[in-house]
Symmetry: C3
Subunit: 268 residues, 3 copies
């Protein structure tokens, strides 16, 4: 069984995702589908890019990731098939693969342009079904090399400023990239960067994390280590980034945190 | 692997869908399940009928479609197994298959009455689990002919007025059948009918689409072709019907469109 | 294909469930996943316990049920692998398996402690991915006996008062355990207990069911047997318990019923 994951902004109540699966099963019967999320906000490419980059590394080699958040459907934006570190990604060339490419040791992208690997008729409004699903299904069968899809794409579209940065001697600046179902706010500030600065600065007292007018006084190992259930604390998320939370509660609701919020880590 | 799709009004948070899958796996281990939608409004047979008819054609021959929106569960309404153009459909005889039958070149329906193809004990409240899931699973194994389920049903229940119609020389009357996750309003006015009238009338100026007090001034090829993001436009949907939309926004929210709204296409 | 079901409080929009599936597919490619529910209220172990116990019996022998509602993640709470009546259950030792164990003829639980059957690195916040998913996947491959996971656990954690009880000669006291998508209120008062008391008491007039200030005057066979669509009635649910409903409507909305509500059945 091949593995095809799906990431879209189609929501859960529409038959659109099922239709893409139907098209894929017409090309390859031996697919295990895994829905990553269909709850991406309508047309929010950035949110999809983060979700995809979070989830993909947990899948085995050869997995195919289909990502369709496609506000430019029907325009001249390209369709992409990407290989990155042994996995495959299919989606519009609109930045949705930015973080996957940024992290990849080795990658190669091709335009999906070969009409034999798409449906015969291509609608103006649903390339998820007509272009991306068939491409994913052909990849899942094996035996179709990336170059069969079309010419290589040297510079896929990228989203700006997806990474946190060291902005001063003792400061990291990043952002909240997602508030999850529990109200935890996941940032783009990686454990790696935090630990590198700790090694370098050997701070006396540790660090604090500032988001808007709230400050988390430090990092703990797990949710239960926070001393109370009313104040904001931080931990390293399961994806290896700073995550702001309230023990047993919702940081998003209690402190109004949301995707896009500016976050600072200050060592002292 | 056999393919079984599921369409219900059970919502996403209930274990009912999982239980139907469990029952099916007890009969056939080699099934790939595809959820079409479980977001049908409670007891809304019409909505389910449109979703099913939209999605089914994109599945390969032999696919089995299980549809359970069943307000009459436990009453005398029949249970149906239908073959239509090489695919199979299982559900209550309450009109849920109206559009599938209307479109089928060739179909045959049988009542599900053979107790050996249902669970031993049949509850009064969940035939999805006790009757329809087993029937779908037996069909998915192959080797069980339709006539094994029970006597043929010559006239399955049909919903009234599911199709748009030419109501005057230059007019089509139809309805909004669904507003989707993006706020696009899909109608039951087919591209076929529109193009047929265009050929016949050779209209000078094209057409306009009127829904309530709003008028879409014409049709464009894809969402991005609409000149602005505040007015209503139309395109042919991915299902081949007129779809009303607002570029980058929600037509449903901006103009209050909803399923059941009367729609007119006027050629001039 | 092995069967692995999933029950969590992760919601539907997060990639967490997909990530657990990715981890499992890395261990065993031949899994059919069935989502039971990811709509458990955040950290509501009791709700998950009822959903799991409702659904599990409908799956074939050998099915593996992964249940992750885990507010104590990262603390000293144990991780459990349980065999009960030929099925397997994996989850935190926090009471989530209470009802499965209560019903089991024969069961055996082992702590998941063997690091070779978990991911190499175990985060402080997501044991669903790092511990429970790998355990379920190893069980799904077969050939890994329960005792390979760790020492037996004689007394897994149990939730209090999950069963309805006869509290007086002619009274049963229980609770609403769930209000479903249709607004039906499912209780923990089993058909068995009701029928046993009917046999014993031979009541003249039958029974009534009292919840808060509302009384359902009796039990009917199916929803359509209720005489009107404004008053509360009861039927035996598809899970074999008393279920309160309004014909064609929502009992939860009309009468404000919710999980935890005290319910009395009075024979007279």
């Amino acid at each position: 069984m091949a593995i095809v994951t799906l990431t879209t902004d189609f929501g859960y109540a529409e038959p659109y995702v099922g239709v893409m699966k139907g098209v894929m099963l017409g090309i390859n019967r031996a697919i295990t589908f895994v829905d990553l999320t269909h709850g991406v906000e309508a047309r929010n490419i950035r949110q999809a890019a983060f979700a995809l980059a979070y989830a993909a590394p947990w899948f085995p080699e050869g997995a195919i990731h289909l990502a369709v958040v496609d506000p430019g459907v029907g325009t001249q934006r390209k369709a992409l098939a990407l290989e990155a570190d042994g996995q495959f990604f299919v989606g519009p060339d609109n930045g949705i693969l930015t973080l996957v490419i940024a992290r990849a040791g080795k990658w190669r992208a091709d335009e999906i342009a070969n009409p034999e690997l798409s449906l015969h008729e291509i609608s103006g409004t649903f390339h998820g079904r007509d272009v991306f699903a068939p491409a994913a299904a052909w990849l899942s069968r094996g035996g179709v090399p990336l170059e069969a899809f079309g010419p290589p794409v040297a510079g896929p579209e990228r989203l700006a400023q997806t990474h946190a940065m060291r902005s001063a001697g003792n400061l990291i600046e990043g952002e909240v990239v997602h508030t999850d179902h529990f109200g935890n706010a996941i940032t783009n500030i990686s454990r790696e960067l935090v630990e590198q600065m700790e090694r370098e600065l050997e701070p006396d007292d540790g660090l604090e994390i500032i988001v808007g007018s709230v400050t988390a006084p430090g990092m703990v190992k797990t949710y239960s280590d926070a001393p109370d259930s009313t104040s904001l604390w931080a931990t390293f998320s399961s994806g290896g980034a700073i995550e702001l939370f309230v023990r047993g509660g919702s940081a998003a609701r209690l402190f109004g945190l949301k995707a896009g919020d500016h976050v600072e880590v200050r060592f002292f």
